[in-house]
Symmetry: C2
Subunit: 589 residues, 2 copies
Amino acid sequence: MTDYKIIQTINGPEDVKKLSMEQLEELASEIREALFNRLTKIGGHFGPNFGMVEAEIAMHYVFSSPKDKFVFDVSHQSYPHKILTGRKNGYISDEHFSEDSGYTNPEESEHDFFNVGHTSTSVSLATGLVKARDIKGDKENIIAIIGDGSLSGGEALEGLNVAGSEINSNLIIIVNDNEQSIAEVHGGMYKNLAELRETGGTASNNLFKAFGLDYIYEENGNDIASLISLFRKVKDTDHPIVVHIHTQKGKGYEIAEKDKEGWHWCMPFDRETGKPTISFGDGEDYTSITAEYIMQKAKSDSEFLVITPAMPGSAGLNKEQRKELGLQYVDVGIAEEQAVAMASGAAKNGAKPLVVTNTTFIQRAYDQISHDVCINNSSVTILLNYNSFDSLTDVTHLGIFGLAAYTNVPNLVVLAPTSKDEYLAMLDWSVDQKEHPVMILIPGNQVTYREADKDFNRLNHFKVEEAGEKVAILALGDFYQRGEQLSAKIKAELGFTPTLINPRFASGIDKELLESLSERHQMVITMEDGILSGGFGEKIASFYGSSDMKVKNYGLDKKFYDRYDPNELLKEVGMTPVQIIADICNQIK
Amino acid sequence: MTDYKIIQTINGPEDVKKLSMEQLEELASEIREALFNRLTKIGGHFGPNFGMVEAEIAMHYVFSSPKDKFVFDVSHQSYPHKILTGRKNGYISDEHFSEDSGYTNPEESEHDFFNVGHTSTSVSLATGLVKARDIKGDKENIIAIIGDGSLSGGEALEGLNVAGSEINSNLIIIVNDNEQSIAEVHGGMYKNLAELRETGGTASNNLFKAFGLDYIYEENGNDIASLISLFRKVKDTDHPIVVHIHTQKGKGYEIAEKDKEGWHWCMPFDRETGKPTISFGDGEDYTSITAEYIMQKAKSDSEFLVITPAMPGSAGLNKEQRKELGLQYVDVGIAEEQAVAMASGAAKNGAKPLVVTNTTFIQRAYDQISHDVCINNSSVTILLNYNSFDSLTDVTHLGIFGLAAYTNVPNLVVLAPTSKDEYLAMLDWSVDQKEHPVMILIPGNQVTYREADKDFNRLNHFKVEEAGEKVAILALGDFYQRGEQLSAKIKAELGFTPTLINPRFASGIDKELLESLSERHQMVITMEDGILSGGFGEKIASFYGSSDMKVKNYGLDKKFYDRYDPNELLKEVGMTPVQIIADICNQIK
């Protein structure tokens, strides 16, 4: 049992400033113990935090938060900062774990300024703090922390460019260079960072200087004394300066130091062995199905090309598989705009590109999907993982906005598969056809097995899985199984067989079929895995607006939910079978 | 009358290759004459094309399009290329003007690969062409043309970064450096470009080299012989190389050379004087109203801050006004992500930021609106111009997707004003409040004058402008006047007074009011200036889905319309008063 002698005395940054150098070193090891305590038990971001312990101690030693303002990029590296700003209990005291989110969070502390979870945001957000400070005539230090692969995102580069000319006052940009992204880094700038590391910051063609920024380098990014001296040098600077520090991702845990990609993020694990202490059963999942499809397709079709913005894990691709794919695989680094535009170009020159990432991140390429791909009808397939209310529940990583964002983009065919067979059929069809941009929403539920029609050429053709009467259930994508359950309950409790429909296409409506439902049905129910606003069901409601058909849309509210219980949420929005049956009884006679 | 001796012989790039150096020079002046012919009569992009005449001649002289592939950025600088690739008639023959769009267009010619109109896309699109070429084992040259301010966009920077490491084959990036964006350039990189120009390309901290790219400089960007020799040097290169050429925006027309911003784009004009030959009447427009509001607000409120991504014209701000705004104005250059994120930061540090641009461009910051602003409930006001079917009709610049894109983002209050008074009241309210992110859609119709309620604190509170019976018309934003016309026609022809509602809020619904309509109404009509899919009306239809109220949504189809006649389009979607009255007669008894 660790006794956290120093941590126990830290209730805020002012307590950090009281410590001797020796005590600061001791604090660093206690912080790593505290991180182990939380991460072995509930998991979280490992490597980014272990690498930044010393830097965050030195930051709080030199600067005066919250007057001086730290803006963390992604903010998955902010755990030591949280421990130092009154939130130690979320790390050393198990019953308090749930009080701290995995990201910075202004509702938790005045030392946090933004809820963030997407990369490449900190410089741009910090320039805004700077601009407001300057028009108010204030004088505090504004410090952006960025790194861990996120420099390659367009927003960060736009931010550096603007900081390099439009800001003429204090702005400190700490570049946490751990030689790594989630997976390995990609992009010419990383050759530049390597040259800078090798030359102690003196290499020519310095990227930051090219953007008009002042620059300073520190090799010992895990040495508190060096960092304190460094930060003292730049404190109260009167112009923007980049502080490039070389840190070691995962420092302090040998297993993580050796496998940086594997330990970017961790499940609960055993500290001795590094092995996860929970498991998800042995059955296959959609990620492994995706990886298998990709490897087979690449072998059999030399035009097939996989592009990912730093998220090979979304497709279950491990290092060996990525290597095996060779020329048919491109990781563009954290750069969603580039990934989508590149895919459009590749399609126009005869390749069959598949872009893979998470739903929450692809919104960074909204314009590229609309303008670069869809206006041009480029036959790009965009494959999205974690597109469900039932996957990631952090407010910054929700997968519930995809239907609203993309089903309204012209020309884009959004497909929502309901089983393994249908998922693979959709992939096959989409990758091989040359007429349409397609988005496929990987189901968020357990893998289910049902045979599927394999032809999707007739766009927006919904499939009637069971013909019935009175009530028609349109259950979209991974909510199809909920539709099945509802159907069974209606049969059992209400004594009739409803019609069960698998829409397959989320981006259009089957007018002919909907028209024909009017004959034997009084009510249409839609069920979808996302917010209702702008999604699938509202299109159905609009279609029937001037008819006698009653329509009830089931889905989530337009809301940034945060760390919720998925089952409770379904109850909250009235979507359990019991609640829906009650609604039906109110409607049909 | 120009006789276009050389141009008449050019039916494709092969004819350019046959010319002597003297004839190429003559061709350049004939192209300028052809540009004058089109631009004096129908307007278009002036400066970008006049500056690139020599470069595009040299490109077609050295490379072999369409085997070698040119990808123009924005493609507003592609007119000389069009003249040289079989489309001269669109410039020299007035009756053929309409055959050529103002941008590259694959439907027009095999020499064009993409429909583009947004900036910063060419490098990323070109890397895709490269990747497909490489997996197919082909060998052609791929040439991206970028410049005119668009290097600062995130997509372009992501593209340069990826080109600098992930492409190991032929890719030529021509940087057209005319020292200018639409307005003046902003961003540290432009200091770097200036240093490179001043040193003949030898300055240290070369931005392109920092991204890992090879680099070559040419000072004489308007000299055909120098350019031919330059392009021959890089033709068939086996690696990515940046070819930095220094050109003069507007070259060949003294008035444009002197006023680069004013002549980026032009209305039809008189060549002698440079004065526009058409005018829009003397009345005020929403752009001048916006500029006036901004100047007054800035004077009276030191926390007010205007941020624009290179589109000061969207707010009607001229050079003198921008200067007068001083610290309270930031042009971040073409960098929508930065603009929106910066605004979020500024709001969090106590400023009152107003972001101004066009609807079609703000979609480049979709993630920043959602993640950086709305999750954080930053009190940012985003003000959008050209948000109407009746403004820009080029497929790449449509203003009809804003409602679908933004009314479904949680926390964002989307306001649709219906008159000058209401517009100003909404601006006042939004800028001063500290609770919500707000988007205001500047009306796309003529300025109208009606007094408005000034309180918007009760979100989603619709305003009943006239209470009536049987039919309720919800006419959103600049379609409110169409609602008034419809109401008048119903009174005259159907003999009853319908209820006329000004929703004001596009992003939510007034449940209480909608509920209350059930008493005296059988039908609700929604009218909106945009596509129906994902927009305002569908939310109303969903609300009434299980009631007896009939709902009919009027708006545009989910489609990339291109260069249409706005009045014809309204007929096509059944939205004229005559058509709506017929629908009503079918519904109500």
